[in-house]
Symmetry: C2
Subunit: 368 residues, 2 copies
């Protein structure tokens, strides 16, 4: 991150979140978490660290007004525990009253990754939708759609957007432009705005969980929303999520294309155990004696981070693990065992839920 341009198609790695927040006007989520009517660990553990206009969503929840959580997925690769956050957030926001829009970015993946619509469709359903449903998504409050199959008004919106921006603006936001990037960007803006079309019930608050790398799309979208006055769009809100680190270290990426970096939701018990034992970066000392004496460093320990960010919602239990590890009382092998057990317990339930989910697919796949 040497300059102000973030490339949303390359997944820029963010090291200094505070600087990014200041630079791009992202507000601190910790100031709003107390207003959440239902507590959620993601908001307290720093997974969701920032926001734009989240107050608008809190007001909608408080006043029982309709609102939307909008999310998109690139139909490539396999669903891993990092993707679980979005699934859980959808279930959470649905509990708070949201309708969820899930966009399969098949036009974008065709344009930027050369994935065919058919391939994208299969991955979106088999990898994403099944896991989302298994996580507890309600069909009555979900609109799962493909960019290639949206309504006419949605398709047209993605073209009309061209009239509300300029080349210079696009260059400032995206840096190097290509025709693919422009069409992808306009399609994404339409994705975020179309829940507010008349055919979808008209203007309403929309919250989009995004990684910082998606900030360019979001900013463009918010600016354009304000310019399309005839639609009376409410400027979309955003919550910013941190990336879950890969197994090999807290500054590595969990990537679908590197199985050793990720725990997939389809991994079996043995695979989970092996991956964590073999690859999960440890904050422990070189020898058992040294560990007992000096203690470990939970802040760089990937197993501890997974417990903190994903698998141990109980603050007291987490604090105890933190302190025990730091003091040397808890060994790395023991910490890993705790995590393995937690993940396998979750995956056992999730596997069963996914079997049930297969029978529910029809309820989610609507044709326009």
């Amino acid at each position: 991150m040497d300059n102000k341009v973030i490339d949303p198609w390359k997944g820029t790695e963010i090291k200094d979140y505070k600087r990014i927040m200041a630079e791009f006007g992202i507000e601190d989520m910790s100031k709003l978490v107390d207003q959440l009517p239902v507590k959620n660990p993601y908001f307290f553990r720093g997974v969701i660290f920032g926001h734009k206009d989240f107050k608008v969503i809190l007001d909608a929840v408080k006043n029982k007004k309709p609102f939307v959580m909008m999310t998109g997925l690139m139909p490539s690769g396999r669903f891993h525990i990092g993707h679980k956050i979005i699934a859980d957030l959808m279930v959470y926001f649905q509990e708070l009253g949201a309708e969820c829009y899930i966009c399969v970015a098949d036009i974008e993946s065709y344009l930027t990754r050369n994935i065919s619509l058919e391939e994208g469709r299969n991955v979106a359903i088999e990898e994403y939708l099944l896991n989302y449903i298994a996580s507890g998504l309600k069909p009555s409050k979900t609109r799962f759609y493909f960019q290639s199959e949206g309504s006419k008004n949605y398709m047209n919106l993605s073209k009309f957007i061209a009239g509300r921006t300029t080349f210079n603006e696009l260059k400032a936001i995206y840096g190097d432009l290509t025709p693919q990037k422009i069409v992808s960007a306009f399609t994404q803006v339409a994705d975020i705005l179309h829940p507010q079309l008349k055919e979808n019930g008209g203007p309403k608050p929309v919250v989009v969980p995004v990684g910082v790398d998606q900030l360019p799309h979001l900013n463009l979208c918010r600016d354009i929303a304000g310019r399309m006055r005839e639609y009376k769009f409410v400027s979309p809100s955003a919550i910013f999520t941190k990336l879950i680190p890969g197994l090999k270290g807290i500054h590595t990426k969990m990537s679908s294309s590197d199985p050793d970096s990720a725990i997939f939701l389809t991994d079996d018990e043995r695979t989970v155990e092996n991956k964590i034992k073999k690859y999960a970066f440890s904050g422990g000392q070189a020898s058992l004696e040294e560990h007992r004496k000096k203690g470990g460093n939970p802040d760089v320990d990937v197993s501890f981070q997974y417990l903190k960010l994903l698998f141990e919602p109980d603050d007291k239990k987490l604090d105890k693990i933190y302190n025990d590890y730091k003091s040397g009382k808890l060994l790395t092998s023991e910490l890993k065992e705790i995590l393995i057990e937690k993940i396998n317990k979750f995956l056992k339930i999730h596997r069963a839920n996914r079997e049930k989910a297969k029978k529910m697919l029809d309820k989610f796949i609507i044709k326009n």
Copy 2:
């Protein structure tokens, strides 16, 4: 025309057709006209002066293979005698076996001229479609559609095109780029290619009548067609039409926004008479005596040009008028009378046909 860039959105005026033809690889139509199975004055009188790959269309006609004539319209302004050429060409090509696709460029007119979809729809139907039907268009061989209401595959095609071109190519073709121009261009390319989609019967020859100012779109489309190998598109053919001059001179434009420059198909007899008497530029001499002595110049006389280009299909009659005017035997007032009578005779029939056309509208307006 100072450089190689033609701006299709500004309607560049073309003065030197020969140079343009050489520069942009447009072939001379006069070399192919003898192969037309049914004669048509537009091809002999220089209205259609050039082509690209028209041989492909002639082969389709000869072998009774399916082919398409594709045309688009900007839904703004009023239908004038200059627009009549396209109407007549559709009827002509339908007789030769073509299916006609008529695209209402409502997305493009929204983006580049800020015309709402509703307004565009009304103009397209009231001004264009009615006059097309009145000219003899067959509903069974016509697909009249709006860019804003195309099929999903058509909409997606207009986005996929982004992946088959580059910024540098677009800049070389269009000069200054705007997001509107890019989206409009991609939509136009999809318009020209989509008659060859599987849902429309698959690959087949398509001929597009265009003014030279539309050459950029056409060239882009032909290049992209070749790159989308998986679709097996036949490279679209084109025939190039000259603009019919405005009343005020052979180098002026007939414009919907200047009623004194144009004869509209809704003008009544009196209006036609007045416009031609008052505004039609004359190649005659200043006085009757001088005219009788020196003769007139039919080559710059707008009334003669309208007879030649639009209203007198009989070569012998036209030759006689030409010679009589040139020799001074035919006076300007007499020449104008011939034209007025021809136009009003045509308009009388056309008016009756348009009344019948109103009852046929439903047969042409399909909803996807």
